[in-house]
């Protein structure tokens, strides 16, 4: 039986809603709620050594743009062992690595790097030594290609015990979380928002150990969503952790219930007429689909038909071209045949005419009209001379002999009668043409068939598309009706869920009350300390502050009350620093709280803090450190002031334009 379970049972009984206590305990256990509360007892975290090697790339004139060729390289040699109390890291020039020293330490402490990307690539190895309640922890890692890999060890009496090794950022962060949360007695913070539970762990706490001059909201830590939880944890409120667990579980249960209520609301909003409309729409869609032929037209087949039609058209075209060529050949052959026939006709007529004229006796010379005498004509036979022109006759026998001689000399060729050859060519062309005409007719018929088939296919394609649309309409109608019916079905209210919600609601109310009761006096003490420290840090007009449980604050300044957000940045910085130191002080003096007593302060003088005020703050911090067990590491450009206020053993200061490392 737990105190919380018992309290919830009694509360419910008083309200007449009694639930069996074992059932209550089960609900709380299932929700991940711790059985008992524990008052925070501070553990002490200290940075004992930061050792970094690598090679840096730098410019002699860091404030000006430097060409890559003029950049210089130098080895990184940082080996610093900060002491207790206030430590100072300083340089006289900017961009000389003072903030990086803080970041190296935080990287090794949390596994999460906040270094500038270029600086990160310069690093080759990091070794850090931390003490938790005087127990030394060693973090060693190499950096290759931006990826850290290394080990975490703890010093034991017999030597070193490995706590784990890691490769990569995620493993590094996870390992450091498990090592540190446990040792510093801190709980992971679960936050439930918009249906999702998120767990914030060690890096969120570690971030709250740093005060950056350019990041002053909220008062405690660096994340507004976590400020209440971190404040409660650091203040040491007993029921804070349990309250956080109950609150998260209750929010989750509440969310589930809201989802359920939303569903019911949606169901209630569905009217009968809407359902009837959806049913009508479904019937119409079904009727529209029935119109279509269930045999599915094949889209591929349609495209194949179009392709065949195209091929057939091509074939028909080729045949018509061949037919045209054949017809041209026929017409050429016919023309040649006619020419040959005319030539033969003319030759025959010429020969016959010649014979006819040769049978006649010439009467006179057609040129000079001189008479051709009978004696001259008769002498043609004996003298072999033309009776008109006196030229010698060519004897036909001689010609035959000459032709015969030529035949002997030349190769004998098969005589080809051109007339026959031409007639054969024409007959052949005729056959070709009639064959091609037949083929073309067939090809044309085939082309037409293919085109008709393709056309019909296209028609079916349109029907297929229409059918598809009808199917989609039907699916939509079914889906709409289904959704309406689903929405109308009343979500059964689970008695188990209701019971769980009720238990968690009561538990949350109780833990909140206990947290408030418990932390009230603590917050009062912290508030007094904050006001005192803020005045010591130079804000002398702040007379009082009231830190509230939700992380907000009222500030009395010059007789008026204002909120934290209404302060100047210089005042905010002082208040924030004062709040962190106050939490450490209370932990130290009263032994209550969970702040590990380590504080990083980055560039405080950057925020409207005059040099004189910085000195005041440093002196005040040094005074606090004398009576309070804490370690503060301050990085500032005002190295000279650091040297004047802080002892040399706690200093890491670069002079002139030198690097801190």
């Amino acid at each position: 039986m737990t105190k919380l379970g018992d309290a919830v049972a009694r509360d419910l009984e008083r309200r007449g809603k009694a639930i069996d206590q074992s059932r209550i305990e089960r609900i709380l256990l299932d929700a991940g709620v711790s059985s008992t509360a524990s008052r925070g007892v501070p553990a002490r975290l200290r940075v004992r050594r930061v050792w970094v090697t690598g090679e840096k790339l730098y410019s002699e004139r860091p404030t000006e743009e430097t060409p890559p060729a003029e950049m210089k390289t130098a080895p990184i040699k940082l080996d610093w062992q900060p002491g207790d109390g206030v430590n100072g890291v300083g340089s006289e020039a900017n961009l000389r690595g003072k903030s990086s020293v803080l970041h190296f330490a935080i990287w090794a402490l949390t596994g999460r790097s906040y270094l500038q990307a270029d600086v990160e690539t310069w690093v080759e190895h990091v070794s850090a030594e931390f003490h938790v309640d005087e127990v030394p922890l060693f973090v060693d890692f190499d950096v290759r290609g931006g990826m850290p890999s290394g080990t975490v060890t703890q010093k034991t009496r017999s030597g070193h015990a490995s706590l784990g090794s890691f490769f990569g950022h995620a493993e590094f962060e996870s390992l450091m979380g498990s090592v540190m949360l446990d040792r510093l007695r801190l709980d992971a913070i679960s936050v439930f928002s918009k249906g999702t539970e998120t767990e914030h762990a060690w890096p969120s706490y570690a971030a709250a150990l740093a005060v950056h001059a350019d990041k002053l909201d909220p008062i405690v830590g660096n994340e507004n969503t976590l400020k209440t939880r971190i404040l409660q944890m650091f203040v040491g409120t007993r029921w804070a952790a349990v309250d956080a667990q109950v609150a998260t579980a209750f929010k989750a249960a509440d969310y589930e219930r809201e989802v359920l209520i939303e569903k019911r609301r949606a169901a209630a909003s569905v009217t009968t007429s809407a359902l009837r409309q959806a049913e009508t729409r479904l019937r119409e869609a079904e009727a529209a689909l029935e119109v279509f032929d269930p045999t599915q037209p094949d889209v591929d087949a349609v495209f194949a038909l179009a392709s065949v039609a195209s091929a057939r058209a091509q074939q028909a075209h080729e045949l018509s071209m061949r037919l045209m060529v054949a017809r041209t050949a026929l017409s050429g052959a016919e023309e040649q045949l006619r020419t040959e026939q005319m030539r033969r006709q003319a030759a025959e007529e010429d020969a016959v005419a010649r014979r006819l004229f040769n049978g006649m006796a010439p009467k006179a010379c057609p040129r000079c009209a001189a008479e051709v005498t009978a004696a001259r004509y008769e002498a043609e036979v004996t003298a072999h001379e033309c009776s008109m022109c006196k030229n010698e006759f060519t004897i036909l026998a001689d010609l035959d002999e000459a032709s015969a001689a030529a035949v002997v000399d030349n190769e004998v060729e098969e005589p080809v009668d051109p007339l026959e050859a031409l007639q054969a060519a024409i007959a052949e062309a005729d056959v070709d043409i009639s064959r091609l005409e037949g083929e073309l007719r067939e090809a044309d018929r085939s082309r037409l068939d293919a085109e008709n088939a393709a056309q019909r296919g296209r028609g079916r394609l349109g029907a297929a598309r229409a059918r598809l649309e009808a199917e989609i309409d039907l699916a939509r109608a079914e889906s709409a009706l289904g959704a309406l019916r689903e929405a109308m079905r009343p979500e059964p209210s689970s008695p188990v869920d209701d019971e769980r919600h009720l238990v968690l609601e009561v538990a949350s109310r109780l833990t909140k009350k206990w947290v408030k009761e418990d932390q009230g006096p603590l917050l009062e003490a912290v508030s007094l300390a904050i006001a005192r420290l803020a005045r010591e840090f130079g804000s002398t007009n702040i007379t009082a502050v009231t830190l509230k449980g939700n992380g907000n604050m009222d500030v009395e300044k010059g007789g008026a009350v204002t909120g934290y957000s209404g302060l100047t940045n210089g005042e905010k910085l002082r208040i924030k620093l004062a709040a962190a130191i106050a939490l450490i002080e209370i932990g130290h003096s009263d032994g209550v709280g969970r702040h590990p007593g380590l504080l990083f302060v980055d560039s405080p003088a950057a925020e409207e803090i005059p040099e004189a005020d910085l000195r005041t703050m440093l002196e005040a911090m040094a005074t606090v450190a004398q009576k309070t067990d804490l370690q503060i590491i301050v990085a500032t450009r005002h190295g000279r002031i650091l040297s004047e206020v802080i002892g040399p053993q706690n200093l890491l200061v670069a002079t002139g334009s030198n690097f801190v490392w």
Binding site: Q341, Q345, R354, L356, F357, P362, K363
Partner: protein, 215 residues
């Protein structure tokens, strides 16, 4: 040239007119102008044009309808087509020099030419057929290979009638293809046009006769 001489002999024999007093005593028939001789030769050498003229005469009822079969024969049978000797067109219509061919006829005493006018410019040439020419033309009509010319020349005579050369030229000009032909280019055939006319005429004739036949 011999062929051309044969054509001229056939034309002189079939298309000439009787001689008159004052003509050379050897001449027994005459063609009194080269223009007429050239026009006659054109029809003899272009059976499609001759067919067109015959069709016109049938259309005009100057010739009986049975000549339509002659027209068809001239258009469709191969023989007339083998005797197609295109003539180029010159200023005076279809023309081809006839001197060489005619000299063959005159050398054998079958024909003679008489020219009127000066040496440089002949005003008119007259072509006479002799008695020997008449005998030779009769032989020609009996010769298997060459008798075609005689028969064709008879059709030319039928078409030409007694029109002089200028009139014949005008008639030939009326046949569109002839007129459209550029100077120096062979006169193109008109088969298809005449065939069209023939078919159209036959359709008209049978159409006009149908009611009679039916009644």
């Amino acid at each position: 040239m011999m062929q051309h001489a044969i054509r001229l002999l056939a034309i002189l024999s079939e298309c000439s007119e009787p001689v008159k007093t004052g003509d050379p005593p050897e001449g027994i028939a005459v063609i009194r102008a080269e223009l007429r001789l050239q026009a006659l030769d054109f029809w003899l050498r272009n059976p499609d044009y001759l067919a067109g003229e015959l069709l016109t005469k049938v259309e005009d009822h100057d010739l009986p309808a049975h000549y339509l079969s002659v027209v068809e024969h001239l258009l469709n049978n191969p023989e007339p087509d083998l005797h197609w000797y295109p003539m180029p067109r010159w200023h005076h219509g279809a023309y081809e020099a006839i001197d060489d061919a005619f000299s063959v006829l005159s050398a054998y005493g079958l024909a003679l030419v008489r020219r009127m006018g000066g040496v440089q410019k002949t005003a008119r040439s007259q072509f006479f057929l002799t008695h020997a020419g008449r005998v030779a033309a009769a032989d020609l009509a009996k010769e298997r290979v060459l008798s075609w010319y005689t028969e064709q020349a008879k059709l030319v005579a039928l078409v030409a009638g007694s029109d002089n050369g200028s009139t014949l030229k005008k008639r030939q000009y009326q046949q569109a293809e002839y007129a459209r032909t550029k100077l120096g280019v062979n006169i193109a055939p008109i088969h298809s046009a005449v065939r069209g006319r023939l078919e159209a005429f036959r359709t008209t004739v049978s159409g006009s006769l149908a009611p009679v036949a039916g009644g």
